[in-house]
Symmetry: C2
Subunit: 411 residues, 2 copies
């Protein structure tokens, strides 16, 4: 986890902010599943100002269509989510997503328009509403500020690591929180968001600024992650604000707004980074930092191109300092810069090594390189020496297990 001054990591995940409770139960949505939680609920005692971002894929899961409609007034109070089935490309998907919201609204005694819905899992198989119908009342009764972990478990699919982060900070003398849970391991190339991320806060903030902060921070975090280049049909990120921290409402981009935005960055950056680390089959987190770019757009394109290259990813799996593939990926990035000035360093907890300057290779110790690259967190530091802009992107290595997981996922 990357620490930020003035923000303390705390427990509680999506329930760290005042007013929020969560739960997760086993509904048996995927036939034969009787051991893993697969139905999650997040609830706030207050109606929340809510911002959300959804996939840019033209194929959109039914839950996204329903959630967008329910969020048209900018408010939400609960989220219901299942794993094991994406409820996407099904003729009756919208009716089923709508019914999930209705059942939740009934159990919580709130308005159906204040319920958002999410689904993740296999595409194109009918989602059976029966087990969901049976379990929603039980799930509603189980809601507790202590159950962020249960909700998280219930939204996970091929994830192997729990992605849950919350921070505490002060504003106007009040304790404030931003926290969240996130899932996603394959089909991840968020052009918008990861598959599912739910963030909550008790900071009191104007709705437009809430949305502005979400968009900006998402661009710097989830949108800079790629596991396999496949943008999912169900990507969803929701940010709910209860306002219960009782700070003075943030109404413009002042210091308080900045403080909130930084807290959101601390949470979303760590969630996004852990998503890359937990890429399907991954053994290493790869962080690519591009400096000296002529524009932010160029920096972003360059960093993302490197962490997205199958060849770079396979080389790092083998701890092989094949920097030529890094240069190749920079070269086909959609960005204008002078490649003949580029330098590349490889770094990890075991040290740092320059492998390329002025666009050409320099001699280096293969032993040192291999030692550095054998760690499970690798940094690729690129300086384009062609401007002042920077970007960071996160990815993972390409391994036998990635192929294994995806060759076997559906069956």
């Amino acid at each position: 986890m990357v620490k930020f001054k003035g923000y303390e990591f705390v427990d509680g995940g999506v329930c760290a902010a005042a007013g929020f409770t969560a739960g997760g139960v086993i509904a048996g949505i995927k036939a034969g599943n009787t051991t893993k939680r697969d139905l999650a609920m997040i609830y706030c005692a207050e109606r929340c100002k809510t911002a959300a971002l959804f996939t840019t894929n033209k194929v959109k899961g039914a839950p996204i269509i329903v959630s967008k409609e329910h969020l048209s007034d900018g408010y939400a109070q609960a989220i219901i989510v299942n794993s094991g089935n994406a409820n996407t490309c099904n003729p009756d998907g919208i009716e089923i997503a709508e019914e999930m919201c209705e059942l939740t609204a009934e159990a919580l005694e709130i308005n159906v328009d204040d319920v958002l819905v999410g689904s993740t899992g296999v595409i194109g198989q009918k989602l059976d509403i029966k087990p969901i119908r049976i379990m929603i009342p039980t799930l509603a009764k189980s809601l507790s500020p202590k159950n962020s972990g249960d909700a998280l478990e219930a939204i996970m699919t091929t994830d192997t690591r729990k992605k849950e982060v919350a921070v505490e900070f002060e504003m106007d003398g009040r304790k404030c929180h931003v926290g969240g849970i996130s899932k996603g391991s394959g089909m991840i190339n968020p052009n918008m968001a990861t598959m599912l991320a739910f963030i909550t806060t008790d900071v009191c903030i104007n709705r437009e600024l809430l949305e502005k902060a979400l968009r900006k921070v998402n661009d710097l975090t989830y949108n800079m992650v790629s596991v396999d280049g496949d943008t999912s049909t169900n990507d969803t990120i929701v940010l709910m604000s209860s306002g219960l921290a009782k700070n003075e409402e943030i109404l413009c981009e002042d210091k308080s707004y900045e403080k909130f935005e930084n807290a959101l960055y601390a949470v979303m950056m760590n969630l996004a980074r852990e998503t890359a680390r937990d890429g399907e089959g991954a053994t290493k987190l790869i962080e690519c930092i591009v400096n000296g770019a002529p524009s932010e757009k160029a920096a972003r394109a360059a960093a993302k191109s490197v962490i997205s290259s199958n060849l770079v990813k396979a080389a790092l799996f083998a701890a092989d300092a094949n920097w030529g593939r890094i240069l190749c990926a920079l070269g086909y990035a959609d960005a204008d810069f002078d490649i003949s000035r580029t330098s590349v360093e490889l770094a990890s907890a075991k040290g740092k090594l320059t492998v390329c300057t002025d666009g050409s290779g320099i001699s280096f110790s293969e032993d040192s390189a291999s030692k550095i690259l054998s760690e499970d967190e690798i940094k690729i530091l690129i300086d384009l020496h062609d401007g002042d802009e920077s970007a960071i992107a996160w990815g993972c290595d390409l391994t036998f297990d990635y192929v294994k997981i995806n060759a076997e996922y559906r069956t």
Copy 2:
């Protein structure tokens, strides 16, 4: 091989056209290599009108820079190519590429400006000119119209299949030929060409039309192939015309031009298709045919998105009819169409099966699907029902061996 009426497949590869000879020898360019040919030469008795296309990667191999300069007058007579080292990102790369041309010109007693040069292999390691200097005279003496296969072997790296095609056809009562050799297995996402393809013809044709035909056919063939999404730094395709078929020179886009363009398509389409089949680690050729698109651009983007998706590729490795991933890849393609009309069929020598209509799944026999997908040539037939345009793209499955090859390639 896909047959075309009026064009007969013949032997001879890059030497099938009148005037051309070739050769390939073992120079020992990669340390320890004493068994595989690694230095190739292609030569024509006449100076040839020549068109070429090179990588769009900003990082360009030194041989590309030198070849572009030598081709500025539109003519070439010989090509010298090594495998085992890409001569790219080396401070002295251009001098070495230039010396390869000079040595070739000397041995063949031709002008250095009429020699093109290519290199393929690892990036960023100094190319030792000594073994090349020693072997070029021997290579020049070995040139023969029978040695297309030797030249082909010498340009191969991780390729496992020989990609060599030639066709014979009639024009103005003369026998005409188009033939070529091609290498490429990984780092293949030609935004222009595969790594290396050398095509020759004896058809007499105006130079502008030669280039026009190459560009057009390349867009329909190599530019529609992807193995791993990595656009190489050394992609090169060269088309040389000796004119020795003695047909009337083609000066405009008449029926003779069309005949020549079709011959070029027959050769390049089959070479490109075999390149996809020979993708690193591949066990299956995947052909995606998109019909009913609102524009050719949309059809191309849709077809290429499907064959490029790691998730689709991994599913097909497992013969798993996970059509949801096909729809997902269509959904994030950079193309405008109405996804709710889309239908998908899977086909092979074992039969054809509809798996999706109107953007939603339909029930189908998993047994039939698995039988169809167990073949080594799979067709994905997509109808967008949203226009009249079509496109074909070629790819391969993503396997354990892809990871293995690329995790071990450099070391």
